[in-house]
Amino acid sequence: MGNEVNAKQILSAAEEIVSDVADFGDAVNAEVRYHTSGRRKNAYVYIEVTASQWRELALWLKKSKKVDYCSMITGIHWPENADATWQVVAHLLRTGVTNPAVVNKRVHETKVDIEGISGNEVPLEFEISMTIPETREPSVPSVADIWVGADWNEKETWDLVGIDFDGHVGMRRVLLPHDSPTGYHPLQKQHKLRYHDFNEMYDDAQGFGRKPEDSGRVK
């Protein structure tokens, strides 16, 4: 019924971005990818970038491509992969939100004419991935001054995964207690979940053990 952005609009917007990203050269690889779920295989832009280029790319996205919203910045720890032990994934959105127009001191709410939008107005999803080789102190540039929404995402990523962000002001623990030991970042893979191991089930720390007569009989 035309009350949604259709796949064609999204695809052409995504392709535009991918062709423009080529200006950055080898440091930035972009491709159009598709969601695989559901009825609609929406396109989104997938960009691989080196950490050093990330800030530049972010500024370009913000300024020329009107990418105005940072949805999530998160990190993954791949301890078995020496080339890319640390991965930072950023999800950005282009929302096209503007302040409502003011005419004659009267505010007029914005209702987007969805069929008519094109170019930089089309809402679009971005997935941006960067990898860092094996290091004790992983770090990527911060984009918290470009999108303020990245501020607490970066705090959380440092708090839980341990990836630091250069240039981030006021980095601190957000979800873990403030007095957590330095270097303790629970989402790193060396911290194993003791729990939910199938064999440990009967040695419940809370005391609900195996029935005495069942020992040896029930696995």
Binding site: H196, F198, M201, Y202, D204, Q206, K211, D214, V218
Partner: protein
């Protein structure tokens, strides 16, 4: 969207309007006055408050009529529980649990199998496949050994699925139906009893298996008794599911869905799962047991399935035997 058309701070809205709407709400709760026309709506809409609504589809109406369920004689408004005095008196919103229970007033909320209450396992059909234990996100479900009768042994003589059960043998287990147990099982209120269901069988060890009589040493009394062959059926010590740490259960119902043998249920019991200590929440398997009569349909399906398998197996074995003989 436009604003509400009266939303300006002025004298009218200072006290008159809010006090008017609260007065209306208050007057609605009084008998007889509350039925007056001007209280049934607000603004320009059609009357909506206290309007009778049909909340039962035809299929449900038929079903509840067949059960002679009290819900049939009751009238409903969409947001109110029912009362027989509906036209002039509205009941207080409090449901006086445990004297009144919601499932008597709105039974559609508690359709067995659709409601995630305490878990329940039919021992007779459980095969100890551990699918439920594996799917449990919290590791709260355990297996346990219990003496039980196989579902195939539950058939009466003459039933088409009869005769595939456990063979009686010396040193094996035998079971005898307790007197009055069928009645007790049928009267057992699964969701309000808060205790283990009544024992249906007594179990014993087969000592002698010659002729028409079988000597059994009953586990409970320790006495040896000769009983007629038709009186006892085979039994076995088996692993069944259903031992649970309810303190960790989050009632997600994945165990019920994972069960491939129609043996695992979420019952309608929502009370009786509390205690003063953590240990009170550790339920042995007999507490979560569901008697076959409670879910006779599921048991029958499973029984037919198993009997079919056994029949095929027997046929195959017979064919094989015939082949080898030939």
């Amino acid at each position: 969207m436009a604003y509400h058309k009266h939303a300006t701070p002025n004298f009218r809205n200072l006290i008159v309007r809010p006090m008017w709407i609260t007065l209306k709400a208050a007057l609605r709760t009084f008998p007889i006055i509350g039925r007056s026309k001007f209280l049934q709506s607000h603004g320009t809409s059609k009357p909506y408050h206290g309007q009778e609504a049909n909340l039962l589809s035809d299929a449900e109406r038929e079903m509840y009529t067949a059960q002679a369920h009290p819900v049939i004689g009751q009238k409903y408004a969409p947001d109110r529980e029912t009362t027989e005095l509906f036209p002039h008196f509205e009941r207080p919103v409090t449901v006086m649990y445990p004297y009144e229970r919601l499932e008597e007033m709105e039974p559609w909320l508690f359709v067995p199998g659709n409601y995630n209450g305490r878990i329940g396992v039919i021992w007779e059909t459980c095969t100890a496949c551990k699918a439920c234990v594996r799917i449990c996100p919290n590791d709260c479900l355990h297996m346990e050994t219990e003496t039980r009768v196989n579902v195939l042994d539950m058939t009466e003589e003459g039933d088409e699925n009869h005769g595939f059960g456990v063979e009686l043998e010396v040193g094996g287990m035998a079971a005898r139906r307790l007197e009055g147990s069928e009645e007790a099982a049928a009267n057992f209120q699964l969701s309000t009893a808060h205790e283990a269901p009544p024992e249906e069988y007594e179990f014993g060890e087969v000592i002698n298996l010659t002729g028409d009589t079988i000597s059994v040493r009953w586990n409970a009394s320790g006495t040896v008794e000769d009983v007629a062959a038709g009186e006892v059926v085979g039994a076995e010590v088996d692993i069944v599911s259903g031992r649970i740490d309810l303190g960790r259960c989050m009632f997600c119902g994945l165990c019920m869905e994972s069960c491939p043998f129609n043996s695992f249920f979420m019952t309608n019991e929502y009370d009786g799962m509390s205690g003063f200590t953590r240990e009170d929440l550790w339920f042995e398997a007999d507490r979560t047991r569901v008697l076959p009569v409670q879910h006779a349909e599921a048991v029958d399906i499973e029984l037919a399935k198993r009997a079919d398998q056994a029949r095929k197996k027997a046929e195959k074995a017979a064919a094989k035997a015939a082949k080898s003989e030939a």
